[in-house]
Structures are given as structure tokens and as C-alpha cells.
């Protein structure tokens, strides 16, 4: 049971980062459809960075940069040139898939790139507590960072002037303008930072979990993160909770496979997405949806 819960947390970690990045973007008023592409670039950047420099920190820096680059592309096209958020996001996802495959080929040829995955960092003392220790305090570093990220983003959104302006930019940009700030600049910054954070989510997949990059390795997790942040009502902790549910669904599916339940693994793999669809349909259109989201300035 503890194993199962710990696995859920592990699997939810990349989703949490992507959802946090998405919240930043959507709260500022731009749909985060490009999360998948941001994650993929992050995953790619992390492994290439770590492989080229033999430093995990540089790998993470590259993950941030990769995600931010995709964010920059979204920001320029949607904010500066007022393009449709959905189409732009999907285009960025396709762009990231093509770009990473191509660059991987150029950089590594046909050989696979292997780096050492980030190991667990048991927290001294706390990890020795029975039950709670292995469940909460024996994770790899990025998992702790995801938790810190939830706290940090909550503080930013609800307790600071910057967060107030950011939320206002997603609700009523004119109010931000009247208050003396530029909603355009706020959206720009939010999307780029959101991209960087989603890129860290990609790094969790590649650098923390497997130590290599494979084509299209995000496998729709960006979309799952998108669903989580909607289910979580654009609130960091709510989104994290939703991610955990999806993580648990995937962990459950892995169990089923190892127990040899006679159901096609492809069917079982659909479970988290089916849950997401069901939950989204059940919630309907939210009144919490930022009022000015998707509306160009």
C-alpha cells in the first residue's frame, strides 16, 4: 500500500510541475494548451544538458530554458500577435515533437543517450519514521521541489501584489492597465515562467525517472496536467490533488499489468484519461475560469 501511494506521488510529480506552469499561464489569461510541448522540450533539454555537461544542475537549467523557449514562442504568437490560444498551443506541441526528434538525431545519431537518473534524497531523520518516512520523505529532489512549488505559487497568487495583478490580467486586463501596469507584459512573463516550470516537469520524466530521452516521451501528460488544473480550479493545491488522483490511476494500472490481469495494457493505459474526461464532463463549465482567458489584449 505504501509502495502504491509512493508510486502515485512519483508519477504525479511531472504532472504537478506542468499544472503549476499551466496555472501561471491561465491565471494571466492565456490557455495553456502548449504544456505538452513545453514538457517535451524540458525533458529533452534536461537529458541533453546533463549528458553534455555531466552536471544534473545544468541539465535542470536546460530543462527550464527549453520549456521557457516554448513559452516564449506561445507568448509572442498569442500575446503580441493576438493569435488563437488553442491553435497556437497545439502547434507548439507538434513543433516540440518534431524539434526534439530532429535534434536528438543530430546530437546523438542512432545511439541512445544515457545519464544517471536522479536518485532519492531521503531526508535525514524524517525518512526513518515508519510509514510516513518512505511515503513522504524518501523521494528524489524534484518531487520535494514540486511541493515547494505549490506553496510558492499559492503565496505568489494570493498574497502578493504581483499575484494580484497576474490574476487581474486573466480576469479583466483593463483593470490592470488602469492600475498602472501592463497586462501584456504580465502575460508575457507568466507564460514564459510557466513554460520553464512545465519544462521542469519534463525533466522529472527524463532525468529523474528514467535517465534518457525517447521520442514523444511525455505521451499526453501535458494534456493530463491541463485537465488537472481545470479540475483543481486553477488553484495550485487543488491541481496537485488532481494530479495525485491521475498519478494513482496510473500506478494502479502498472500494478494490474504486473499481476497479469488479462486486459490489454493499452486499454488500461487509457484509464487516467477516461477519468479526466469523466471528471471534466461532471464539472461542466467553471465559473472559476478566468473571465478574460483566451481574449487578446
Amino acid at each position: 500500500m505504501i509502495d502504491f501511494l509512493a508510486a502515485s506521488i512519483r508519477i504525479a510529480t511531472p504532472l504537478v510541475f506542468a499544472a503549476l506552469g499551466g496555472i501561471l499561464s491561465e491565471r494571466a489569461g492565456v490557455f495553456a494548451v502548449g504544456l505538452e510541448g513545453m514538457m517535451l522540450m524540458g525533458a529533452f533539454g534536461a537529458v541533453i544538458g546533463a549528458w553534455a555537461s555531466a552536471s544534473d544542475l545544468l541539465g535542470l537549467a536546460m530543462a527550464l530554458a527549453g520549456g521557457a523557449a516554448m513559452g516564449l514562442a506561445v507568448a509572442i504568437v498569442t500575446v503580441r500577435y493576438r493569435a488563437d490560444n488553442m491553435v497556437t498551443g497545439l502547434t507548439v506541441n507538434i513543433l516540440a515533437a518534431g524539434l526534439t526528434t530532429y535534434l536528438l538525431h543530430v546530437l546523438a545519431g542512432s545511439s541512445a543517450i544515457q545519464v544517471d537518473p536522479l536518485g532519492p534524497w531521503p531526508i535525514p531523520g524524517l525518512s526513518a519514521i515508519p510509514v510516513l518516512g518512505p511515503l513522504l520523505f524518501a523521494h528524489p529532489p524534484l518531487t520535494y521541489l514540486a511541493l515547494l512549488g505549490c506553496a510558492g505559487l499559492s503565496f505568489l497568487l494570493y498574497r502578493t501584489q504581483t499575484g494580484l495583478k497576474l490574476r487581474a490580467a486573466g480576469e479583466n486586463p483593463e483593470a490592470v492597465f488602469v492600475a498602472g501596469s501592463s497586462p501584456m507584459r504580465l502575460r508575457f512573463t507568466a507564460i514564459i515562467c510557466g513554460g520553464a516550470i512545465a519544462g521542469l516537469g519534463g525533466a522529472v520524466l527524463s532525468l529523474q525517472q528514467v535517465g534518457t530521452f525517447t521520442d514523444g516521451m511525455t505521451g499526453g501528460r501535458g494534456y493530463l496536467a491541463l485537465a488537472s488544473l481545470i479540475v483543481g480550479r486553477w488553484n495550485p493545491w487543488g491541481a496537485a490533488a488532481a494530479c495525485l488522483v491521475f498519478g494513482a490511476a496510473e500506478a494502479f494500472e502498472l500494478r494490474l499489468q504486473t499481476y497479469g490481469v488479462p486486459v490489454s495494457s493499452y486499454v488500461v493505459q487509457m484509464v487516467p484519461y477516461l477519468i479526466a474526461l469523466a471528471v471534466l464532463a461532471g464539472l461542466g463549465r467553471s465559473t472559476k475560469l478566468p473571465a478574460a482567458i483566451g481574449k487578446p489584449l
Partner: protein, 495 residues
């Protein structure tokens, strides 16, 4: 004592139009100045210049003894000038406190939520604003939202408040409360410029009135001693007689007969209207006016009762069948229900009749006939635009309303439902609308005139009904109107 604000010889031209042509205006601390004028008289331009939204071509502005020039809105705000616009720039999903903290230095980067909430409560109590810092703005009435803007200005140490048409979206009790708040502000020594075209409010609250017409000061007067007729004449440059309701008829055959009508938010109610009669439906906004108008027009389903028009049962008829039966409808929501702003004047004029001659023959649109008809209607209804091909959304509110009226009246309706048809119109345009209603009555049609402006209802109606809580509280003939009784009905108390 030096004036709080002095504007001298202000000139602003847009192309050949002199929007402001040498205007002088001043305001003292502790004084409410009414700025009166029809649409297009230059009020808004003057205030935009003062607030630094654009530079004047000539003239000078001195505020609190300092010259204001080449300033932008932020500098104007820092100097102590606050502008309360007609459309508020508030974030509905946020609380009152959050809206006030947005972009405010005093709130700090790490928001001082408790301290700010205390200040909001304290100031709100002092000025009688009744604002709860933790209330969500989206749940508040327009009147309350306006008070947030006022509170924002006061907390940011504004010395001069400019209110642009502050009462146009308010229900009568909220107007009274706003005027009380303005008196509080005056007592605290704030200067207030109150832009409006509603004379009663000016007479009620202002100390002094400045009337603009065609970019110039047409006159100014202390309110004490001024009367309505003088001010109205100054505004429009001609006499505006209130439409005289002479015939007092309503003797024709019954055209509309509503019995036991019920629906979401209304009923059950009974109502009859004869040909050649105007029934004025008064009442505070939000008491079922929209629901009743839309149910009669066929936009909402009736859940019970019946509606007969000229002897035909139209209770469950489609909108199109109702139109054929002779029903016309002027919705209150001009910009999205009545008109398609992005479409041309001609297209808007044919909108409801696009399948019939002269707009269409055998299912095909007849372009030339449409243009001719549109040009004729524009002339007949005095719709001022360069051509029928101009998008409706580009016109002023008065001209937009004339499009709607032209379209609805051109069909020679047997019954017209007019919901707030003069909303946001200046006295000239209001006069035009009223005249058309009276002409329609003279032609034998029945008119249901729904308005929250009691005065208008009294001016035009043969009978006056009051809607309260979705039901008819009572009906009385205009001739023997009893104001006290009307007031009781409007306040929702049983007679």
C-alpha cells in the same frame, strides 16, 4: 480662496470638429459642480483632457496651484484627480479588498490584507458606503461597484472626483444613496465634477451648474434659483416640451389580453391593452421587467396562462409568428439583443423582415430595394450616418436606437413592447422616441412602455401599472395618479 481646479480657454479639435472651443471651468474644494450637456457637447472630451488621456490644443489647467500639462492619467491620479467612469474597471472574480489593493503602493508587495481591510471598513463607515472588504465584486449591484471606485479614489487621496454619468446604471434607491455619498464627500472638502444629462439630479445635489453645448460653455448658474426649463433650454439650445399626452384615449378594441401569465421570474399576471393606448409599466429595475418583455416577445417560454393578440392565441407562438401577428419589440439591451453591431445599418434594418418584401423576393435578397428602403428609413427616422453601409456599432447610442425604432415601427405593429427605449439617450433623442410612441398610439396601436424612469412613464402613459416582484402591484389611470400609492407599489409593499 484659490480654486481647486482652474481650466482656462481649453481648445481641442478633431479634424474640422472643434470638440472643445475655448472652455473655462473651475471647481472649488467642498463643492459639487454639475457638468451638463447633450451627447457630443464636449463634456467627455473636456474630462479626458483634464485627466491627461489626450493633450489639449490650447489652454491651461491649474490643479491645487500647480500647472498640469503634458500629463498622463497616472500623473493626474498622483496629483489627486480621480475619474469614476461609466463602465467600471473592476475584477468581478475578486473581493472588494483585492480590487482596492490592485496596483496600490500602500498595499505593499506582500499584501497587507488585514490592515487594508480595516482601512476599507473605517472609510466605508465614514462615508456611508456600506462595503464589506471580503465581498466578491461579482455578487454586488452596480451601485455597490461604483462605490468601490469611489472608495478607491478616496483611499488614494483624491481631492477632485470626476463622475461620468454616475447614475445611468443605477436603480432609483441607489441613485438617492449615491447622492448622499456625494454630500458626505463634499462635507469632507472634496471637489466633485458631476457629469450628467439628468436635470433632476443636478437640481438635487449640485451647488453650481455649467452647461456645455457644441464645445462651448452655453451658460452657468448656481443651482439655487435655476429651474429645469432654463437648464434644458441651455443644453439643447431650443425648448424641449415634455410630450403632451393629449388624447387620453384607450377606447379602441382590446388588442392585447394577458391572463394568468407565468414564467421564470414573473407571474401569474393579468393585463389588457386597447388600441390607441399606452400602458406605462413602472417599477424598480430587476422586478421582472426583462422577463415579462421577453416572455411577451417570445424569447422566453411561458409556463402558464395565455396571451392573446387581436384575438389570436400567441402564448406559445414562435417569435416569427408573433411578428406576423403584429407584435414589435424594442429590447432594453440595444447593443446585443436589438442590434448586430458589426453589421451595417441596412442589414440591421432588414434583420427581422429579411424573408419578406421589399427585402427579399422568392427567397433571394433584393439588394437594391434594401438599399432604397434603408435610405428612406434613415431619412424618415433621422438616423445620422454617412450611408446605410456603415456598421451600426459605429453610431452614437441615440442613432442606434433610431435604427431599432425604425425597424420595429416600419412594420406597422398592432402592439409595441418598448423596454427602456430612452436609456442613455440625451434629451433630444428622448424627445424623438416619445414622439414616435405617441404617433404610433394615434395610429391605433397598443404600446406597452416599460421603464424604470417614473417621470417618463407618467409623461407618456394613459394608464400606469407598477411591476414589483414579478407581478403587477397595481394599475391606475394617468389622470388620477396618486404618487404616494405608486411609491408604495414600487417599494413592493402590499397596498
Amino acid at each position: 480662496m484659490a480654486a481647486l481646479l482652474e481650466m482656462r480657454g481649453i481648445v481641442k479639435c478633431f479634424g474640422a470638429v472643434r470638440a472643445n472651443d475655448g472652455i473655462d471651468l473651475d471647481a472649488q474644494a467642498g463643492e459639487i459642480v454639475g457638468l451638463l450637456g447633450e451627447n457630443g457637447s464636449g463634456k467627455s472630451t473636456l474630462m479626458k483632457l483634464l485627466f491627461g488621456m489626450m493633450p489639449p490644443d490650447a489652454g491651461g489647467i491649474v490643479f491645487r496651484g500647480r500647472e498640469l500639462s503634458d500629463h498622463n492619467p497616472r500623473m493626474a491620479a498622483e496629483a489627486g484627480i480621480a475619474m469614476i467612469h461609466q463602465h467600471f474597471t473592476l475584477v468581478e472574480a475578486m473581493t472588494v479588498a483585492e480590487n482596492i489593493m490592485l496596483g496600490w503602493q500602500d498595499a505593499g508587495w506582500r499584501l497587507k490584507r488585514r490592515e487594508i481591510a480595516d482601512r476599507i471598513r473605517e472609510t466605508s463607515r465614514r462615508l456611508g458606503l456600506e462595503l464589506d472588504p471580503s465581498a466578491r465584486v461579482g455578487d454586488l449591484s452596480l451601485g455597490r461597484r461604483q462605490r468601490i471606485e469611489i472608495l478607491k479614489a478616496v483611499l488614494r487621496d483624491a481631492e477632485l472626483l470626476i463622475l461620468d454619468e454616475p447614475t445611468s446604471n443605477l436603480a432609483p434607491p441607489e441613485v438617492a444613496e449615491l447622492l448622499a455619498i456625494l454630500r458626505h464627500l463634499r462635507a469632507e472638502g472634496k471637489g466633485i465634477i458631476f457629469i450628467t444629462h439628468k436635470l433632476p439630479e443636478v437640481l438635487d445635489v449640485c451647488d453650481r451648474v455649467v452647461v456645455l453645448r457644441a464645445g462651448r460653455v452655453a451658460g452657468f448658474a448656481p443651482v439655487a434659483g435655476a429651474d429645469r426649463a432654463t437648464l434644458a433650454r441651455m443644453m439643447v439650445g431650443r425648448d424641449v416640451p415634455a410630450p403632451q399626452n393629449l388624447s387620453g384615449s384607450g377606447t379602441g378594441a382590446t388588442r392585447l389580453s394577458v391572463s394568468g401569465l407565468g414564467g421564470a421570474g414573473i407571474g401569474p399576471m393579468d393585463l389588457t391593452l386597447s388600441g390607441g393606448e399606452i400602458l406605462g409599466l413602472a417599477g424598480v429595475d430587476g422586478n421582472g421587467q426583462l422577463e415579462l418583455a421577453e416572455t411577451l416577445a417570445g424569447l422566453r417560454a411561458a409556463t402558464g396562462g395565455s396571451v392573446m393578440l387581436d384575438g389570436r392565441d400567441i402564448t406559445h407562438a414562435s417569435v416569427s409568428a408573433r411578428m406576423t401577428a403584429g407584435l414589435a419589440y424594442i429590447p432594453a439591451d440595444r447593443s446585443s439583443t436589438a442590434l448586430v453591431r458589426g453589421m451595417t445599418i441596412a442589414a440591421n434594418l432588414m434583420l427581422r423582415d429579411s424573408a419578406r418584401p421589399p427585402y427579399a423576393r422568392r427567397g433571394w435578397l433584393t439588394k437594391r430595394a434594401t438599399q432604397t428602403r434603408a435610405a428612406a428609413l434613415m431619412q424618415g427616422f433621422d438616423i445620422r450616418a454617412p450611408s446605410p453601409a456603415v456598421p451600426a456599432g459605429r453610431l452614437s447610442g441615440g442613432n442606434q436606437q433610431k435604427i431599432v425604432i425604425a425597424r420595429e415601427l416600419d412594420r406597422n405593429p398592432g402592439l409595441l413592447i418598448a423596454h427602456q427605449p430612452t436609456w442613455g439617450l440625451d434629451p433630444g433623442a428622448t424627445h424623438f422616441v416619445m414622439e414616435r410612441m405617441l404617433a404610433l398610439r394615434a395610429a391605433g396601436a397598443a404600446v406597452l412602455y416599460i421603464s424604470s424612469e417614473l417621470e417618463e412613464v407618467l409623461a407618456i402613459s394613459d394608464r400606469v401599472a407598477v411591476l414589483a416582484g414579478g407581478a403587477i402591484a397595481g394599475i391606475m389611470p394617468r389622470g388620477g395618479v396618486d404618487m404616494a400609492q405608486l411609491g408604495l407599489w414600487m417599494s413592493g409593499r402590499a397596498a
